[in-house]
Symmetry: C2
């Protein structure tokens, strides 16, 4: 008799709870994935490139994708790199990991926007650095105060390895850093020598396009590393993204042993993406999902205005997220069990801060659900909020 | 006027020199890539899994591929892991990088077989460790002497983080570690607590199958991490491989920030591979390439016997490489310019050693060329060897 095998492993990351409306995960709507066009692109790449589609690729990524990407970036703002400034990654998180592996040494300090993409905090932590929130307010990072913090850290004899932020349609806030602060932040980077890592994952999801100009487009050469992804604009399961920066940094990433010896990190998929782009499918797809996600954003915003008039928020100009603050002390963190009992889920705001704060905030994602489901989710959330306010079991938290 | 753009970037890693026969690169024969079957597998995955094929995947890799892999490994030797002991990677080099990121700390010592896969040395070096060759002779690593070396290093207060080797159809030697040494090496690992990283990339390319039993199959739990790849058995451009080991190690790899936040590293391709496997295409393809590469091996061996009778070698039982030693002092390192002038290329043996040795060795790859081309390449090499021996410009090197 052999021991029973463990249960069958899942196929995907997200598994919905029966009966729960999930406003937590930042995953695409299943109907917004380009199934047929992607099937055609993979076939097309195999036809066009033959054996070259399945053998070892150019380590930085295949030329046709990189060249198209440079043209695309030139079309959306002035932030077009030269082809030899681009490296194709397995997504934006992988790009951040690679950049950190080059820029960070154990014991360094990494500054991050606050709040910021919570999983970036985990990627950075793998590099044995101390993650410190940069001073920020509701408009985003505060450049002058950040310069002061860099000076203070440096005076203590510590090295600030990099500053990470999502300046355009920030995750979780949906907000974009104002133009004046962008310019001031670039001046700080140039003056202090601390590289800025600009996570530009949400650029294509602008309602309406175009998104604000990238930091990269206004930067002195070598001060900004920009990372991007096809996870939101096309499909996350492809595991495809990119980074662009100064040539020495791109060369150092390309020289990582596993990259160079393996011939890049996602060659066959990258060539299929080059076909997807060249055929016009990319442009059509992005236009279609802008309409879809804008409609979903509008539905969520309307529902919150109707059902949760107490909530403070700014309508996001792009991306997948709505960032709420609820005045009641049981706003974000302590509300979750009530929400889950009512059949709706979200991500507590606390998770997007390095410090123990944000307890009255919550992030709602409008990416996965149709407008009607979003509305029903907010009704349930509003009910949970009333219930939490009446309950004597809750303990108020600061923030 | 704008500056001219840099030249168009290449698609693939290997670019042949016009007129040169390349016996250097360990790349597949272009005709041995499963173009049609792979196109069908990608289509099939999109049909079967729908949106689940393109959204965020299970972080360790999709269940269907992992479960098939466990069955396949059970069929080739006793080294079958449980599904929760497997992690799907972007190739074997990426697997080694991930394992090193968990096992190594800066300043540790990593032991490696000698000679060994030269690009593994680069992957390991990225982790800021000292790479030290384990004692070895023509049969491969010497377990007793390795145990002594581990003791000596440990007595100096340093930590040996892991021991890396390719025990089956080693790159570059093509040889497999004898059974008795395998058992002794496993005993050393169990006694010293130094994990063995078994690079099992070439297992499927056995002439004839089956390959020797894996180290993993005979190991005490937790002492061996096994890594593998679909680069040789199917196609390198897919960037797909795997690792299997103790659950805590697999959990630590899976918890890497960029892996967990991205939903695995190569989800869509992994699901297509699951279809490729389930349809029988994998089994058929491996059987076909075994016949091809065995024929190419035989052609290279016959040509060397005819044209370079001075060369010492052992006929490899699998893999892609023939490891030669030439008696003349201008054997491997100094022969290369003569060979290239004669229109043939190879990898000098020196590159596979940590120490400055192996200068009379050379690695010939029989993977990329047809039998007739292999024979012509060896004729050119033999001519270059005669030429080098006559030349007075060469300076003999030791080893």
């Amino acid at each position: 008799m052999t021991a029973p095998r463990p249960p069958v492993l899942p196929v995907v990351q997200f598994r919905s709870q029966a009966g729960t409306i999930d406003l937590g995960w930042g995953h695409p709507h299943p109907a917004a994935l380009p199934m047929d066009a992607w099937a055609e692109a993979t076939h097309s790449a195999l036809r066009r490139y033959g054996a070259a589609a399945l053998t070892y690729g150019h380590a930085a990524g295949p030329g046709p994708l990189i060249e198209w990407l440079c043209e695309r970036l030139a079309g959306v703002d002035a932030g077009a790199p030269e082809p030899d400034q681009v490296f194709v990654t397995a997504g934006a998180s992988h790009a951040l990991d690679l950049v950190a592996s080059v820029l960070c040494r154990p014991g360094d300090v990494v500054l991050v926007d606050s709040p910021t993409y919570h999983l970036a905090l985990r990627v950075v932590a793998d590099h044995r650095v101390d993650t410190v929130p940069a001073p920020a307010d509701e408009d985003g990072i505060d450049p002058a105060a950040t310069a002061g913090l860099i000076r203070a850290i440096t005076r203590q004899g510590r090295r600030v390895a990099m500053l990470y932020l999502v300046p355009t349609f920030n995750n979780p806030t949906g907000r974009s850093l104002p133009a004046q602060r962008r310019a001031a932040l670039l001046a700080v980077a140039a003056r202090t020598g601390v590289p800025v890592v600009e996570d530009d994952t949400y650029r294509e999801l602008a309602y309406p396009a175009p998104a604000p100009a990238s930091l990269f487009s206004g930067a002195e050469p070598g001060t900004v590393v920009r990372i991007g992804s096809f996870a939101k604009s096309v499909a996350p399961g492809l595991r495809l993204g990119w980074l662009t920066g100064a040539r020495p940094l791109v060369a150092a990433v390309t020289a990582r042993g596993y990259v160079d010896s393996g011939g890049g990190v996602n060659h066959a998929v990258a060539l299929a993406m080059a076909e997807f782009a060249a055929s016009g499918a990319y442009r059509r797809h992005v236009e279609a999902i802008r309409i879809r996600y804008r409609r979903q954003r509008d539905a969520l915003v309307a529902a919150v205005r109707d059902e949760l008039p107490q909530a403070r928020f700014v309508v996001p100009g792009g991306g997948w997220f709505l960032w709420l603050r609820l005045p009641h002390p049981y706003g974000g963190t302590d509300l979750l069990p009530y929400a889950e009992a009512a059949g709706v889920s979200y991500v507590p705001g606390r998770q997007f801060f390095v410090a123990d704060t944000g307890h009255r905030h919550l992030r709602l994602s409008y990416s996965m659900c149709d407008p009607e489901t979003l509305a029903e989710g907010v009704r349930r959330l509003a009910g949970a909020y009333r219930e939490a306010g009446l309950s004597s079991r809750s303990t108020p938290l600061p923030g």
